[in-house]
């Protein structure tokens, strides 16, 4: 008599190895692999996309230099993630609510935050978080990994309850962030309440020094959406068109009242985790890095656009100069920000100060008047 297996865990484990194939429009060699999607976009669109990536790369290079000069404070490099960050953000409207994490400054700027305020945030100045003048629909960058996910579920539920039409909440975390409880709670709440939210995982291979494989045995991070019962997809995060097309579809799906979506972008950060002393040489090998450097989203789109006669070194250099000017002005404006006062911090703790706070405001005002 043969042994009847009630449940075959070996087979179940093998099933898990089913590889997701990341969505792609333009491959690493700059070849079009999905002509149908590619043809949806005009030459002007392609130039716009290229410019966005060059803009982010320039912002990164300048931020990096400014950090070394001590003219910026906290900075989490974005080089390599241009397609993932610009391609996703572009899919959203200014009225959509963004909940960025600390590496998502480029998206936040594109979403409406002036560069000088982003620089103030980096330096540690409260005005960097004051979005009222520009009416930026966003919360300031989140440092606690995962917190932005569950808050996104709340914002999206608010949008749904307010019956605000054609509006969604969107948020980002990294590969390491998918291990947090709040990551799961966030997508699960969003699923249970069927709210208009788009969740991005920017999988850049490492959480500081810890490689993605240490985070989870899951074959993709996108498939974690299954645990929440929400649609999920993995996309080539070095491919602007693939990210943009996917994000746009996700936004449309969520805005139409269908519930949330989880998107994993496969990307790579070319530099350190932050500029606060992290050195990738300690945990990454050049052999491992090189294929990703070759996979630079700017290289593949630069080639594609140049072949089409839409882009050249001169065009790029002229644009980079333009962006550098913009950044120079932003630094100047950030330098002009007033010195922060502890009495004003105290005034911001509560709408109506408690007696204890009122005492301290008085004391600090006297000290500041000296």
């Amino acid at each position: 008599m043969s042994e009847v297996k009630f449940v075959d865990f070996v087979a179940k484990k093998n099933d898990l190895q089913d590889q997701a194939k990341p969505l792609q429009v333009v491959n690493g060699k700059g070849e079009i692999v999905n002509q149908e999607v590619f043809d949806k976009y005009s030459d002007e669109d392609l130039v716009k996309f290229m410019k966005l990536m060059v803009w982010e790369r320039t912002l990164h290079q300048r931020s990096n230099a400014l950090t070394r000069q001590g003219r910026l404070g906290f900075y989490a490099p974005t080089e390599g993630q241009e397609a993932s960050e610009m391609g996703s953000q572009l899919a959203f409207k200014p009225s959509d609510f963004m909940l960025p994490a600390y590496r998502d400054i480029p998206q936040l700027i594109q979403h409406g935050l002036p560069i000088w305020k982003a620089f103030l945030w980096s330096r540690g100045h409260v005005l960097g978080n004051d979005y009222t003048d520009e009416n930026v629909q966003a919360l300031s960058p989140q440092i606690i990994i995962g917190a932005q996910y569950i808050e996104t579920a709340g914002v999206a539920l608010g949008i749904k309850k307010n019956k605000t039409e054609d509006t969604v909440a969107f948020t980002y975390t990294g590969d390491g962030g998918t291990s947090q409880g709040d990551f799961y709670e966030g997508i699960n709440f969003a699923g249970a309440f069927q709210v208009p939210a788009v969740f991005f995982i920017q999988n850049n291979g490492y959480a500081i020094s810890v490689p993605r494989r240490v985070q989870t045995a899951a074959v993709t991070l996108a498939q974690k959406g299954m645990a929440a019962g929400i649609p999920y997809v993995q996309v080539d995060g070095m491919d602007f068109l693939a990210v943009y097309e996917t994000a746009k579809a996700a936004r449309e799906y969520a805005a139409a009242g269908n519930g949330p979506v989880l998107i994993e972008t496969l990307t790579f950060r070319f530099g350190p985790h932050t500029n606060a002393g992290d050195d990738p040489k300690r945990y990454r090998t050049p052999e491992e890095e090189q294929p990703w450097f070759d996979n630079d989203p700017l290289i593949r789109y630069r080639k594609l656009l140049t072949d089409k006669g839409l882009w050249s070194e001169d065009i790029e250099n002229a644009y980079v100069d333009e962006v550098k000017e913009e950044i120079k002005d932003a630094v100047k404006k950030a330098d002009e920000a007033p010195k922060q006062k502890i009495s004003e911090f105290l005034e911001n703790v509560f709408e109506v100060p408690t007696p204890e706070i009122a005492e301290q405001i008085k004391a600090f005002k006297a000290k500041e008047a000296k």
């Binding site: 709340g154 608010g158 699960n188």
Partner: protein
């Protein structure tokens, strides 16, 4: 006026504010159709609908994160944490997010969230249900912490908390839920936040207490009165901020002070009360300030509660010691 239990007063406050402000939302685990594990939200979903009063998945961090997000969209969330012992699950969302939102946005964003949660011993609950963890939230800048000791305050303080534009942690004492009744006005009224209440006037000793220990302290005051000792009892009501003006005034009047809490000696807010009175009124004191609190162990196993929890007997002994100090 109506006669209400502590928990009926809470339900009435929620009903009142659900009616008066259509941006208020009540949610948490089992608060909807079930009406809450203690019936605090009984009938509210039937009256106001599932859009205003609703159940959530079982995840405390998610519940408070949801509140922050809803507040960002203009709502006035009133989430419930089923037992305050479960607050650890939500500490980042409370102390790392909610409490900081106004501050980190340069005072431009309101998060008018009132977190309701029961706590307190004496009813033989299982582990992590009764712990007094008020000091954990009372030491976080940006949070108000309120705990009523009677039905009248419960309703008025809860309405004030809900109407306040900053986050408030509203701690309800399990033992008080059904053990006392009192006259409570109909409709909306407020008991001010940030204010202590002299619940009994006296001249020989001030007992400062909060939540269930206020009632234990009142028992002692009545007993000592029969011996000609006049005891003033101050109900803190607000644990963050603490109303120093009222407690210092009382200390200056009676010259002798005892602070009572259900929490362990290393926890609670008693040590803060003692240090503030020391700083502000030491020259008025005729005796060292005393404290009654629980032993510094983990909260007791149910059968040991009666031996562990500070009660009227403990308060009386310490009160006599302070009164007799020369």
């Amino acid at each position: 006026m109506a006669t209400m239990s502590y928990i009926q007063a809470i339900t009435d406050a929620l009903r009142t504010q659900l009616k008066n402000d259509d941006k208020t939302l009540v949610f948490g685990e089992d608060v909807g159709k079930n009406g809450g594990v203690f019936r605090a939200t009984d009938g509210l979903q039937a009256e106001f609908g599932e859009d205003r009063v609703f159940d959530t998945p079982l995840a405390e961090s998610g519940i408070i994160g949801l509140s922050t997000g809803l507040a960002l969209q203009g709502f006035r969330p009133i989430p419930e944490i089923q037992f305050f012992g479960f607050v650890f699950e939500a500490m980042d969302q409370i102390a790392g997010q909610l409490s900081r939102t106004r501050y980190r946005t340069n005072g431009t964003v309101n998060v008018p969230v009132t977190i309701r949660s029961p706590f307190g011993g004496g009813t033989h609950t299982p582990e992590m249900h009764a712990d007094s963890l008020e000091a954990m939230v009372a030491s976080v800048p940006g949070l108000r912490v309120v705990t009523p000791s009677n039905p009248y305050d419960a309703k008025g303080l809860l309405i004030s908390a809900i109407k306040n534009n900053d986050p408030v942690v509203f701690l309800e004492n399990l033992k008080l839920y059904r053990s006392m009744k009192a006259d409570v006005p109909e409709g909306e009224y407020e008991v001010p936040l940030d204010k202590a209440n002299v619940v009994r006037e006296g001249t020989d000793l001030t007992i400062i207490a909060y939540s269930a220990e206020v009632n234990e302290s009142l028992k002692v005051a009545e007993k000592l009165e029969k011996e000609g000792k006049s005891v003033e009892v101050v109900d803190l009501r607000s644990l963050a901020p603490i109303d120093f003006e009222t407690i210092v005034k009382s200390a200056e009047k009676t010259h002798r002070v005892l602070v009572v809490q259900e929490a362990q000696r290393l926890a609670g807010v008693a040590s803060k009360v003692v240090s503030e009175i020391s700083e502000r009124a030491i020259l008025s004191l005729d005796a060292p300030i005393g404290r009654v609190s629980a032993p510094d162990t983990i909260y007791p196993f149910g059968l040991a509660e009666d031996d562990w929890l500070p009660n009227a007997e403990d308060i009386e002994a310490k009160a006599r010691e302070i009164l007799e100090f020369n």
